[in-house]
Amino acid sequence: MEIKILGTGCSNCKNLEKAAREAVAELNLDAAVVKEEDIVKIMGYGIMRTPALVVDEKVLVYGRVPSVSEIKEMLIKK
């Protein structure tokens, strides 16, 4: 499973990355958490708001920072 955080470096993006890593750790998932900061690549996902949470190349959340429990729920469903 690959978890990608799309963001250009503002505080929200950092918070999302932190929350995502926490969720992964709490679920003990075998998942890689990467950050994408290149704006051209970010636009490839078709979003207009950062930060965004992408799992296995599918955009799950964008424009806000979901809570750790919300992220866990989404990851479990996958």
């Binding site: 470096g9 078709g46 207009m48 424009g63």
Partner: protein, 346 residues
């Protein structure tokens, strides 16, 4: 029977909190003046009319008042914003004829949630779906300039007329500036890679429940008030100092109407400065209280809030310098005109 139990059982308790908090809010707000009198004149037993007492009174009264107003409006606006999104705005703007597009873009700029870090993806998204450059600019001008925090503070410190004027002139500047930039056909000054970009299909909009919307209202209050309270307090403190100590009409000498250069100087000083609305307004209010002309003070405030160095640096990624300067010039001139207009009328 089962339905009713289910409704209450699964309802987030936070949903009912507003019912309790709102009356409390009103109670506090209505009694602020009496509470301040009590604290400053009775409990601390300070002499009415002295510089120190009046400054302190201003401070003790204004800080909670501003914070209360902020909390209420940010909560309300936070919830309204959940009904808007850049994606919906983009769809609404596609294909609109030029001036209509400018008007809609500016209006939507007020209510669409927008964080300056999203400026680039948003700009790219708009351009890529064919929205004209000028219309996009109307949005980008309105979004930071017409700020609900500023509206609240102006309302609290000057009354609804001033707050309304602020919104209307802000909108006008956004609409007209965007329209002018569009008519100048400055597409050549947009970084070329922007027009070559092929964005992916955008994901479906999230469906939000009402419960989630209320939570987002709370989050907005926590985030914004959390960020801003110190500036508000400092701004009010400076305002309190001016209120209590600066002699009446001192400001009139260089920010007053009779001095023709007061508006351009205010705008020029305001452009490179950046502050959030909360910090600058109490200062502005105290200056006005000491004789600064309303138009000059408003122009200063709009220049500070509406044009910011950090935002220009971010936009440099997609706009070439001549366009950035044109942007600043057109908006700055609009603010100048508003400043003169108000000094003339009031």
């Amino acid at each position: 029977m089962d339905n009713k139990k289910g409704f209450l059982q699964y309802r987030n308790p936070a949903d009912f909190l507003p019912l309790v908090l709102l009356p409390l809010w009103f109670l506090l707000y209505r009694n602020l003046q009496d509470l301040t009198d009590l604290l400053v004149y009775d409990l601390l037993n300070l002499q009415k009319g002295t510089h120190l007492t009046e400054s302190l009174w201003f401070f003790v009264f204004e800080v909670p008042k501003v914070l209360l107003l902020l909390a209420l409006i940010i909560f309300a606006v936070g919830i309204v914003r959940t009904y808007f999104s850049p994606e919906r705005t983009r769809k609404a703007l596609e294909g609109k004829s030029l001036f209509t597009g400018n008007v809609m873009a500016a209006s939507l700029g007020i209510v669409t949630p927008f964080c300056s870090c999203s400026a680039i993806p948003l700009f790219l998204g708009f351009i890529e779906s064919g929205i004209p450059l000028g219309v996009t600019f109307s949005f980008l001008i309105a979004a930071p300039m017409i700020n609900e925090v500023a509206v609240v503070l102006l309302f609290g410190l000057f009354g609804w007329k001033t707050a309304l004027i602020y919104v209307v002139t802000g909108l006008s500047i956004a609409i007209i500036s965007g329209w002018i930039i569009g008519r100048l056909h400055l597409e050549k000054w947009v970084e070329p890679w922007v027009y070559e970009l092929k964005a992916g299909d955008h994901p479906d909009d999230e469906k939000l429940t009402f419960s989630q919307r209320i939570m987002m209202g709370y989050t907005a209050v926590k985030e914004i008030v959390g960020k801003v309270w110190l500036y508000v307090t400092l701004g009010v403190a400076v305002g309190a100092g001016v209120h209590g100590y600066v002699p009446q009409d001192f400001m009139a000498s260089f920010m007053g109407k009779s001095v023709w250069y007061s508006v351009p100087v205010s705008v020029l000083v305001g452009i490179p400065l950046y502050s959030n609305a909360a910090g600058i307004i109490p200062i502005v209010s105290a200056l006005i209280g000491k004789g600064a002309a309303l138009g000059t003070a408003l122009a200063f405030m709009m220049a500070v809030i509406g044009l910011s160095l950090p935002e220009m640096i971010i936009l440099r990624k997609v706009l070439k310098l001549p366009l950035i300067f044109t942007f600043i010039g057109v908006v700055g001139t609009g603010i100048l005109v508003v400043g003169y207009l108000f000094n003339y009328i009031f």
